[in-house]
């Protein structure tokens, strides 16, 4: 359990985090979203005990991060932004250091290391200096370090930033593979990641929480939620299809790009798909595809963070 209450962090005159409160329960994978400079990293640095809060409290598994820092830190595995580590060391030496700091002794050290090395496929580079490794491997070394003591709380600051699609997939698989009674907090600005791994999304902008809901609820806020896109086979049919879609009762408006015509519903609860399907089967114009959108997160993200509307 993580409880953050009225957290405020100020650097001189600049307020980075302004009165944030939320709790995270075991089993939740929380996606922490927000534009750059919104206060995501700062919040994480306070939760992990790197920065002291200006005001407010953070409790990790019942321990206050300020008054009982070490106990709180023992519960946490943390991957700082950019996965910094001691580049002159080998992954083996580095992980041994972490294991000892985490209180493992004797044969436990090698056991724990072999578990995380297997999990993150680091065997091949175990004795190579970290500075010679590729970005993907460096990130994996950082992740290995974070999960080495099987922490109750895993805090990952942009874990997939700068990785290629395969590496991103691997990292997401690893996060999903964690056992159910853990807390995971991931900061990211990659929105697909939220739908892919998170059970909850918290969006912050200018140091304040502007949304706190499930990824599905977030998608539902999109004006594209439930929208129907029809792809025409011939260019000549496009005007006819547009006119038809626009004429439907539940449609608020249409957008067209190339041969694709998107009908935006007046209300996401109105099902316009049956009408469209019926029309497609009756009409003379051929259709290459019809699909329904779940919602566009980037659009929701923009609306929420730029408009600063509180929900």
């Amino acid at each position: 359990m993580i409880e953050i209450s009225h957290l405020r962090k100020q650097f001189g005159d600049h307020v980075a985090v302004n009165d944030i409160s939320f709790s995270v329960a075991p089993g939740e994978i929380l996606g922490f979203l927000g534009p750059n400079g919104a206060g995501k990293s700062t919040t994480m640095k306070v939760i992990t005990g790197f920065l002291p809060p200006t005001a407010g409290t953070v409790k990790v598994w019942g321990s206050d991060i300020e008054s009982d820092t070490l106990t709180a830190q023992r519960h946490i595995g943390y991957l700082p932004e950019g996965a910094p580590c001691y580049e002159e060391m080998t992954p083996r030496g580095f992980l041994e250091f972490i294991a000892r700091v985490r209180g493992f002794k004797g044969s436990e050290v090698a056991e724990r290391i072999s578990v995380v090395v297997d999990r993150l496929s680091l065997t091949a580079v175990l004795d190579q200096r970290i500075e010679t490794l590729s970005k993907g491997f460096k990130r994996r070394v950082g992740l290995a370090q974070a999960i080495l003591h099987d922490p109750d709380v895993l805090i990952l600051d942009e874990p997939t930033d700068g990785l290629d699609p395969n590496q991103k997939h691997e990292v997401r698989e690893m996060i999903r593979g964690l056992s159910r009674d853990k807390i995971v907090i991931i900061s990211t600005h990659i929105l697909e990641e939220v739908t892919a791994v998170c059970t909850r999304a918290v969006i912050i902008a200018s140091g304040q929480i502007v949304a706190d809901c499930t990824p599905e609820e977030l998608e539902a806020r999109s004006r594209y939620h439930g929208a129907i896109t029809v792809r025409a086979v011939h260019d000549v049919d496009v005007p006819a299809i547009s006119a038809f879609l626009e004429g439907l009762a539940g449609v608020a408006g249409i957008e067209q790009s190339g041969r694709e015509i998107t009908a935006i519903p007046r209300d996401a609860r109105l099902e316009i798909l049956p009408d469209v399907m019926a029309a497609v089967s009756q009409q003379t114009w051929p259709v290459a595809g019809v699909y329904q959108e779940r919602g566009r997160l980037d659009e929701v993200f923009r609306t929420i963070t730029e408009g600063q509307q509180h929900v």
Binding site: T71, G93, V101
Partner: protein, 252 residues
């Protein structure tokens, strides 16, 4: 999880081991030791007139140590904190379940042990002088201990200046300057200058803060409690300064 908590000493020793090993992860450590040994030899034999003096002691060897440390200690200490801040690994280090004391003292001890190793590798000097004559080995031992204590004082200053800046170059220069001030404070020339326009008490205080004053008595073979306490106090004071600087810088 609670049974995994480390005693403070255990945490510190883990930091010491990692830091000490990291000196040897690159050729820098070997280069440093080589330069140290060469310079120690040059100073002793050429500038210190080791042979011409015709005395079987290591006074010429030790008397140059403050000047040797002036350049070499900042080179050892500059990376202590600057590098961590530059690479961002400080964020990792400070979020591990280690106390600030463990880390600050652990890093310092590693650097101190490293200079101790370099210093102990000058043992051929000791063998030479024993081969050539019949020196007072008690004095030599006391001088070695004193020299190492002085290196500790310099290193503690270097640890604080390294915590001040992300740049190793700035850390090096700042440390060099401070160390120079602490050496010069006891230099007869400097003391003479201040004598004219400062009250005697202040001149004495200034001179008593000098590394040179305390080291020269040690290198003469007088390892008095007073000098040992002086260097220990210096180390403790500068490490406390390091803790404060690390704290302040982290909040930025």
């Amino acid at each position: 999880m609670s049974d995994r908590s480390l005693s403070s000493l255990a945490g510190m020793s883990i930091v010491v081991r990692r830091e000490f090993a990291s000196y040897f992860a690159t050729p820098i450590a070997y280069v440093f030791i080589l330069i140290f040994l060469i310079l120690a030899g040059v100073f002793t034999f050429y500038i210190g007139n080791f042979y011409e003096r015709g005395q079987a002691d290591l006074a010429p060897f030790f008397s140059f140590h403050p000047w040797l440390y002036l350049f070499l200690v900042p080179a050892v200490s500059m990376r202590l904190w600057s590098e961590e801040r530059k690479s961002g690994s400080i964020e990792l280090l400070m979020t591990l379940p280690l106390t600030r004391l463990d880390v600050v003292v652990g890093k310092f001890l590693a650097a101190w042990l490293f200079t101790g190793l370099a210093l102990s590798l000058t043992f051929p000097m000791w063998i030479t002088v024993n081969y050539l004559g019949d020196p007072d080995n008690g004095i030599i031992l006391a001088s070695y201990v004193g020299s190492w204590m002085m290196a500790g004082g310099f290193l503690a200053i270097g640890s604080a200046t390294s915590a001040l800046s992300k740049s190793q170059v700035i850390a090096f220069i700042l440390c060099g300057l401070l160390c120079l001030m602490f050496i010069l404070a006891g230099f007869p020339m400097v003391v003479g200058v201040f004598k004219d326009w400062l009250p005697a008490v202040m001149v004495d205080t200034l001179a008593s803060l000098s590394f040179l004053t305390h080291f020269s008595s040690i290198s003469k073979g007088v390892l008095s409690m007073r000098d040992v306490i002086y260097f220990l106090a210096m180390i403790i004071a500068w490490l406390m300064a390091t803790m404060i600087i690390v704290d302040l810088k982290q909040g930025e």
